[in-house]
């Protein structure tokens, strides 16, 4: 009897132990894919690795449309303002309401270092995958994918550098929990050199535009690498860093001395894009933003962009609020300052005599890009009716609803819905966010060449092409309204104005006024101006320029963003930017 119970206990115990030792479950959840599985040494198709790369794109690119608190970043420049009733993120930036402790809404530090980490993992690990995909030219595709990640990483660094100056360069390091991540900043010069050398390294291994197919559409190409190099060199050559360093002896905030050859390098890089012959201006300015790029689409101008696909969000967010049946929200209010920057259709500034500008019909006879960029009262046709931004008009009714604060709405990036058959509604339109396009490279080229060697005919020629495409009359002398024989400074002003008009709302102006070191003037000289339009029965409209927003810019510290306070306080090696 006694033995039996012992036996029962022993058996029960052994059974329990056996059962608990059975391998029934995996030690970690299968849905948690490991690094080894993501970059699988047996997966010749690289399925997961390429999914991972797609995340790298997602993490690195930011869609500029209504990006900053539902506004365009350029609404924080002198080109526009937010229509929001409450304190908007862009207004906080434009009025200087940010600090290291409460960074502005464009603070990209965390986001960009996250992107850098993602890309670096791909760069380090992709070699494990025996990818047997070939490019159309018969070369293995793997180096091309890897170079895409290197491009994205370089782009992330450029996004950081143009906000903060020199930042820590992490190379191929991927931090783990035990790493010491308290690394110092690299100099501005190091950062530029790194971005440029990365671009140089990868440009040959990337796909050419011609190799792009429907399936690979949206991937980074060789031309993109050339363009990114140009962007980096243009930044480096710009006055803020090259000669105008806000802390002249601080290598973190720029070069410690001026060197004109930096403009030469920028010009050469831009020239390389131009002479590659891949890109050209599209015939119609409006189509640039709503057309897919070559070779899939007709857009010969896009160089690299974020894939957003088609939709109506840009139209609904930014159309004048009178189109409320289409959900129009009217977020963006371009300023009179921007409107005045557009020349007349003969290419003259509106202040020039004989320019053809008529202050009582201010939108007539203007550079056609004006109406492609901005909805103006009475002349912009939209969904079969003319926009009404006079006081009390459908698009500026008064009261407490969100509406334009300047008398203008943004038109750029939208589909061709001036007249619509059937019920007036927006159709789905391609809204890819173009980071870099050929027109910008031409402006880069013009600017760099003018700075390095003066206003040569090549400089003129670049502007002629842009103005011609814009629809400005060539004029009897073929100068498209540009003065002949400009000196370097005059040409600089002309290029800057041309850039403002051509590239409005493309996140250029906001950074341009900084790198040109004219932000203090742009923000602090006078309040931003809007147009107050009064309509009386049987009377012509009256136009009055009215101040709409007093902006503020603390020079020189605001030329660079503060490093986020938490980063500085948590990392003794992290040196704050001057003035913060």
């Amino acid at each position: 009897m006694k033995l039996r119970y012992h036996t029962i206990f022993a058996l029960a115990g052994i059974t329990t132990v056996l059962v608990s030792c059975q391998k029934q479950y995996e030690p970690v959840p299968v849905e948690q894919t490991t690094l080894a599985y993501t970059f699988n040494t047996k997966d010749s198709a690289g399925v997961l690795a390429l999914e991972y790369l797609s995340t790298c794109y997602l993490e690195t690119f930011t869609n500029g449309h209504n990006r900053v608190g539902n506004d365009y970043l350029d609404a924080a420049s002198d080109d526009a303002m937010s229509a929001s009733l409450t304190l908007s993120d862009v207004q906080e930036i434009a009025t200087g309401a940010y600090s290291a402790a409460t960074p502005n809404a464009d603070d990209d530090w965390t986001h960009m270092y996250a992107a850098i980490r993602d890309n670096t993992i791909f760069i380090n690990e992709i070699y494990r995958v025996p990818l047997n995909e070939l490019l159309p030219n018969g070369q293995p595709a793997l180096p091309s994918y890897r170079s895409e990640a290197r491009f994205l990483r370089a782009l992330a660094y450029l996004q950081l550098v143009k906000r903060y100056g020199g930042v820590p360069l992490l190379g191929d390091t991927v931090f783990t929990i035990t790493s010491n991540a308290q690394v110092p900043r690299n100099s501005f010069s190091d950062c530029i050199n790194y971005i440029v050398s990365e671009c140089t390294d990868i440009q040959d291994s990337l796909r050419t535009v011609a190799m792009i197919t429907g399936a690979t559409y949206g991937r980074i190409t060789q031309g993109a690498a050339l363009a990114l190099k140009t962007e980096a060199l243009m930044l480096a050559a710009s006055p803020l860093y090259n000669g105008g360093n806000i802390a002249p002896s601080n290598p973190l905030t720029g070069y410690t001395s001026y060197d004109v050859t930096r403009w030469q390098l920028a010009a050469q890089a831009a020239q390389a894009v131009i002479s590659s012959g891949i890109y050209s201006l599209m015939p119609n300015f409006k189509d640039v933003f709503i057309t897919q790029a070559q070779p899939v689409g007709a857009n010969t101008e896009s160089i690299y962009w974020m894939q957003n696909g088609a939709g109506t969000s840009v139209e609904t967010f930014n159309s004048p609020i009178g189109y409320s049946s289409e959900g129009a929200l009217g977020y963006t209010s371009p300023t009179q300052n921007l409107v005045d920057a557009f020349p007349t259709d003969s290419g003259y500034a509106i202040t020039a005599t004989n320019s053809g500008y008529d202050a009582t019909n201010p939108y007539n006879n203007r550079d056609p890009r004006l109406l492609s960029t901005i909805f103006c009262n009475g002349v912009s046709l939209w969904l079969n009716r003319y926009v009404q931004t006079y006081d009390g008009g459908l698009d500026k009714p008064g009261g407490t609803v969100v509406q334009t604060k300047t008398g203008y709405y943004m038109r750029k990036f939208m589909g061709p819905f001036e007249t619509v058959a059937g019920s007036p509604q927006f159709g789905s339109t391609i809204h890819d966010w173009i980071f870099c396009r050929y027109a910008g490279i031409m402006l880069d080229y013009a600017e760099a060449t003018n700075e390095f060697s003066g206003p040569s005919s090549a400089v003129y020629n670049a502007l002629f092409q842009l103005r011609q495409r814009a629809g400005i009359f060539a004029g009897p002398n073929g100068y498209f309204g540009l003065p002949m024989n400009m000196d370097q400074a005059t040409m600089r002003a002309a290029i800057q104005n041309e850039r403002r008009c051509e590239m409005a709302f493309e996140e250029q102006r906001y950074f341009d006024i900084r790198r040109w070191q004219i932000a203090a003037a742009a923000y602090n000289t006078a309040p931003l101006v809007g147009m107050d339009i009064q309509s009386q029965p049987n009377q012509p409209l009256t136009y009055n320029r009215v101040p709409v927003l007093t902006t503020s810019f603390k020079a020189p510290s605001m030329y660079l963003y503060p490093i986020p306070y938490s980063e500085v306080v948590k990392n003794p090696q992290m040196q704050q930017n001057p003035g913060w």
Partner: protein, 1084 residues
């Protein structure tokens, strides 16, 4: 088979009554011998002295052995025998006094040789024990002859109180019985020293979501609450100040098995204890830091069948409902709020008048929605049956319980179904103990629970939110044509949401079965035994969604005076979805071998233990907690005690190879009252034991901070990058450490939190056990506490995970003091407990702070930080001249924040502690009295030094943006700042459309600040109970032991330092209920 039949019968609750009736019939009449047949003959020796004989019974009318019988004023003492009989030499006219440790003292004046049976009444503060000691120490007076070695329930076993060195606090049956509530946690508030059970909702949450695999990542039920879908959603349980929010709440152990079972009827429970010290919890291994709530359900009792039936029903009243403003006040104040925002007014004088005089109930409604959709006095009914009995060979207990708790919403007879909130529960618990032979005992337990929840189709949470936010003038309840009122802004009608939104059902099913085998190996060597126990349990919750939606109609008066009805909202057909919301399976195995032996003055015991608990929850991988532990104890002359325990414990959610840790504890005790010198010096002290324990304990709460956080992983899923010319995004994303944007670095060093715990205390009784005192001091240094590192720079490109960094100190004092006595036939007690708890951050890897007020280290763990409010701006000039939050222009009537660092702006450097760091004191005070069958008891429960942060925008501000309109406002709005009331204002100026923030979408007045910090002290008359036991002489002929008629009340009255809102539960949480309960209890 029997159980399945039982459950089937339970489906029809009417069968329950039949079942109970059958059981009643089956019960044998008590074996108490009739009084005419006393055990001993009555002698008559002389005129003044003779023998009196009789029988003493317990409340069931069953003979009670070991009752001490004494004649008053004489030293005749006898004890009842196993048949309950006694006979004693006594003088005529002398009072007989009957006493027993578990029962109140009885006095009886015999008038003849033979007397009526004496029925004893269970003492309030003691646990009835199956086998009371046959005799006990003689005392010179007869009050509370408490035996020292009454067994107590501790972790996985029962032990004698004398050798127990830990800290324990117990609630037993009488207190549990007096609590009219759905689960036993209600009965613990204020009764267990050091345990803070804060109620957060008046009703349990009901499962609604379906179970789907995407829930898995980071969304699984985790070890935070002990493992498993918890059925406690009404309470925050904090032991010694450790917050559930950091995964440090105690582990519930029900009948020896770790189970998150709270929704059990208090009447089916014999006792609930809380174990607080390191030594007595050590065999929890990885969770030994957390303490344990030990729940013992009713136990089998030796003897004839005892049957205990209780039927009771109560009515409930919601407490702390906010007072909405009537429509005219609302309209007036909304105009003021709009004006403050520079907006045109919304209402005219004619509107005010129409609202005020109710001249236009359709166009200008003034509906008190609280009166419209809430009904008075919903019921809580319970029916309990307990049967137990058995022989030395086998004993059993059966508990059946039925509970029906109705919610507070109105219903309509038009529905064929119930739309009210409701909970019905059927519980069956059986235990059978079998002594197979002298050496071998088997215990079997089966518990089954079926719980059906019901609620309106919209869900009661959504309904209460809508109730909180809908103004009185939003729309009329019904239109003249009988349709539900509404308009373009309110496309759903509150009444329709209550009574015409269909219903949701959730069904919870539980089955647990335990088996425990214990075999004594006395034959091998005396005192050696082995024990094995196993538990298998399953739980599943399914829900049925039968919701629908009813449109609303607005009556519009046309210009010509014609009326027209506009329809809004959608009519949605009734859903018919059935889904599983949670599913769990548990397996628990425990093997123990022990040795207990006494050698003269030396007493030794040792135990080795292995156990493993596996939980399978929903779709998740199993959680395994494994312990290899042991403990040993030695005592000399029952006077000096030394004990130790060690546990090598593992949790499989840590990295393989890093799953096991060693935890250990030790304790010493000295029963100083057994020392001869002490007895001589302080004879007034009956008993005094000093004790201390120390341990290194653990808390495996890693799940709370992430899912397999040590594992470097990549996970897929949307959003996708739309690569390709068609933007199909056919490639899903795959990101390191989680979905893009919320990724975490792998914490390859993750381990359990640990604690160095010390607990020192004393147990003392004096004045012949009239006074019992227990005091404890604890010092718990938690280290390796999971938290974010201070230098978590963003350069790393990914979020840092929680790491084992923090060091926190918890200290406190606990005191339990009881006084019991009797005066004649009046037995009474007063018992109080209080605990003071405080914590301190020793280390938290805090980065350099330039201002001392920003520093967290050295302050309490949950210190509130915020801006320091200096009242309200009284003048526009002051507002304009004062520092502001960046981007905000403050006005008169806004809160004035202090610019602590004087930099001209209110920012993070001005955040300072906004509540005084004082130790929280939680206390309870209970008292009771028993006289001639009347029993009265009361419990007072409260908190002192409590901080209440009251910032509830809907309630405090009102007029929030809602549906193109403005939300309801409540009485606090009446105290708003206006220039006329200046400094006497109790709220900032009104603004409209704050969208959860006061003032044009800017969170100015609602940011965390000392303005909203209030004194949170409160106390409640938590429970009052009055019962009357019918005299036994009426009942005994019917073979009934006891009929008790009782009334009791829960949450009878509350005092709170900060008025206007219940200190614990506030809308939109389901409000706390006051329960007034009455019932009858029959024992036979």
């Amino acid at each position: 088979m029997i159980y399945s039949i039982f459950f089937y019968m339970l489906q029809q609750s009417s069968y329950l009554a039949v079942l109970i009736a059958l059981l009643l019939l089956s019960v044998q009449p008590g074996r108490a011998q009739s009084p005419s047949d006393p055990a001993g003959p009555a002698h008559t020796s002389n005129s003044s002295t003779h023998y009196v004989g009789g029988i003493v019974t317990d409340e069931y009318g069953k003979p009670l052995s070991g009752v001490r019988v004494q004649t008053r004023g004489e030293n005749n003492i006898v004890f009842t025998n196993t048949e309950g009989n006694f006979h004693i030499e006594s003088s005529f006219g002398k009072m007989l006094i009957f006493s027993h440790p578990q029962f109140d003292v009885m006095e009886y004046l015999p008038r003849a040789d033979t007397m009526l049976p004496i029925r004893m009444t269970t003492r309030f503060l003691h646990t009835p024990v199956a086998n009371a000691p046959a005799s006990f120490e003689q005392k010179d007076t007869i009050f509370i002859p408490a035996p020292d070695n009454e067994p107590i329930d501790v972790l996985y076993e029962r032990t004698d109180r004398e050798s127990f060195l830990g800290s324990i606090s117990t609630v037993d049956r009488k207190a549990l019985e007096a609590t009219p509530a759905t689960n036993y946690l209600f009965a613990l508030q204020g009764r267990l020293t050091g345990l803070n059970i804060a109620q957060t909702s008046g009703y349990e949450a009901m499962g609604l979501d379906s179970l789907f695999t995407a829930q898995l990542l980071g969304n699984v039920p985790n070890n935070t609450t002990g493992a498993g879908p918890t059925d406690n959603s009404q309470f925050n349980i904090q032991l010694r100040g450790h917050a559930a929010s950091s995964g440090q709440n105690p582990i519930a152990i029900v009948d020896g098995v770790q189970r998150e079972l709270y929704s059990i009827d208090p009447r089916t429970i014999q006792s609930v204890s809380i174990l607080k010290d390191p030594l007595s919890n050590l065999l929890l291994g990885q969770n030994s830091s957390r303490g344990a709530i030990i729940v013992t359900t009713n136990e089998p009792r030796l003897g004839p069948t005892r049957l205990n039936v209780t039927a009771e029903t109560g009515t409930q009243t919601a407490l702390g409902l906010p007072a909405p403003l009537p429509a005219y006040q609302y309209a007036y104040l909304l105009n003021e709020a709009l004006q403050n925002n520079g907006k045109p007014p919304a209402y005219s004088q004619a509107d005010f008048d129409a609202y005020r005089y109710h001249t236009d109930p359709i166009g200008h409604p003034d509906v008190n929605w609280y009166h419209t959709i809430l009904r008075s006095a919903p019921t809580l009914s319970r029916l309990n049956l307990n049967a137990s009995g058995g022989t030395a060979l086998a004993r059993y207990v059966i508990d059946l319980s039925y509970m029906n708790d109705q919610g507070m919403f109105v219903t309509t007879d038009a529905n064929q179904y119930n739309t009210n909130v409701g909970l019905q529960r059927y519980l069956l618990n059986t235990k059978v103990d079998v002594n197979v032979n002298k050496y071998f005992t088997i215990r079997l337990q089966v518990m089954g629970r079926v719980q059906d929840g019901n609620q309106p189709g919209l869900t009661y949470n959504a309904l209460l939110s809508n109730l909180l936010s809908t103004p009185n003038n939003a729309y009329p309840v019904l239109n003249p044509n009988g349709t539900y009122g509404g308009n373009a802004n309110y496309t759903q009608n509150l009444l329709a949401q209550v009574e015409s939104s269909g219903y949701n059902l959730d069904h919870l099913k539980d089955v647990l079965s335990n088996v425990e085998l214990k075999y004594s190996l006395d034959k091998v060597t005396k005192g050696l035994w082995v024990k094995g126990s196993g538990n298998v349990s399953v739980q599943s919750e399914t829900t049925m969604n039968r919701s629908l939606q009813t449109p609303v109609t607005e009556l519009v008066v046309q210009s010509a005076g014609d009326t027209n009805y506009n329809n809004y909202g959608e009519s949605l057909a009734q859903n018919n979805h059935y889904q599983t919301s949670s599913w769990a399976r548990y397996r628990f195995v425990q093997l123990t071998a022990g040795y207990d032996r006494r050698f003269g003055d030396h007493s030794v015991s040792a135990e080795l233990l292995f156990d493993q608990k596996r939980s399978l929850l929903n779709y998740d991988l199993p959680e395994d907690l494994t312990n290899f532990g042991g403990k040993a104890a030695y005592s000399y002359k029952d006077r000096y005690f030394i004990q130790g325990a060690a546990d090598y414990s593992g949790y499989n959610r840590y990295e393989p190879g890093h799953q096991y840790g060693l935890f250990y504890a030790g304790g010493v005790g000295w029963d100083i009252s057994r020392e001869a010198f002490f007895r001589n010096i302080l004879p007034v002290i009956d008993h005094l034991k000093l004790r201390a324990t120390y341990g290194l304990t653990g808390n495996a709460n890693v799940d709370y901070y992430g899912y397999y956080i040590w594992n470097t992983y990549f996970s897929g899923g949307p959003p996708t990058y739309p690569m390709g010319s068609t933007y199909n995004g056919d490639q899903s994303t795959l990101a390191e450490g989680g979905a893009p944007g919320s990724q975490y670095l792998a914490n390859t060093n993750a381990t359990w939190e640990r604690a160095d715990k010390f607990d020192g205390g004393l147990d003392m009784s004096l004045l012949h056990d009239r006074v019992v005192l227990t005091a404890d001091y604890y010092h718990e240094r938690y280290f390796d506490v999971m938290q974010d590192r201070g230098d978590n720079v963003a350069l790393v490109g990914i979020n840092y995970p929680a790491e084992n960094i923090g060091v926190e100190l918890y200290q406190g004092l606990e005191l339990e003091l009881t006084y019991q006595d009797r005066v004649g036939r009046v037995n009474y007690f007063v018992s109080g407990n209080a605990a003071a708890q405080q914590s301190k951050i020793i280390y938290m890897d805090e980065q350099y702070e330039q201002n001392p007020w920003n520093v967290h280290t050295g302050r309490p763990v949950n210190q509130l930080f915020g801006y320091v409010a200096q009242g309200l701006f009284q003048t526009a000039a002051d507002a304009a001249a004062s520092p502001s939050l960046p981007g905000y222009t403050q006005q008169a009537g806004d809160i004035k924040y202090k610019d602590l660092n004087g930099d001209g702006s209110i920012d993070q450097f001005d955040l300072a502690p906004i509540a005084k760091p004082r130790p929280l004191v939680i206390y309870g005070l209970s008292a009771g009295i028993n006289y001639l069958g009347f029993e009265l008891s009361a419990l007072l429960q409260g908190d002192a030094n409590r901080v209440s942060y009251v910032n509830r925008p809907y309630y405090n501000f009102g007029f929030l943006s809602q549906n193109n309109s403005y939300s309801q406002a409540y009485t606090p709005s009446l105290g708003r700042w206006i220039p006329e009331n200046g400094t006497s204002a109790t709220a900032p100026r009104l603004t409209a459309g704050g969208n959860t923030n006061n003032g044009e979408g800017y969170p100015y007045n609602t940011v965390m600040s000392s303005y909203w910090v209030h004194n949170g002290d409160f106390f409640r008359v938590k429970n009052v109970s009055l019962a009357y036991n019918l005299p036994y002489r009426w009942l005994r002929r019917a073979k009934v032991g006891d009929v008790k008629i009782f009334v009791n009340a829960q949450n009878l009255w509350t005092w709170a330092a900060f008025r206007g809102i219940d200190p614990e539960v506030s809308m939109p949480n389901y409000p706390l209920q006051r329960v007034l309960n009455a019932g009858i209890n029959v024992k036979l």
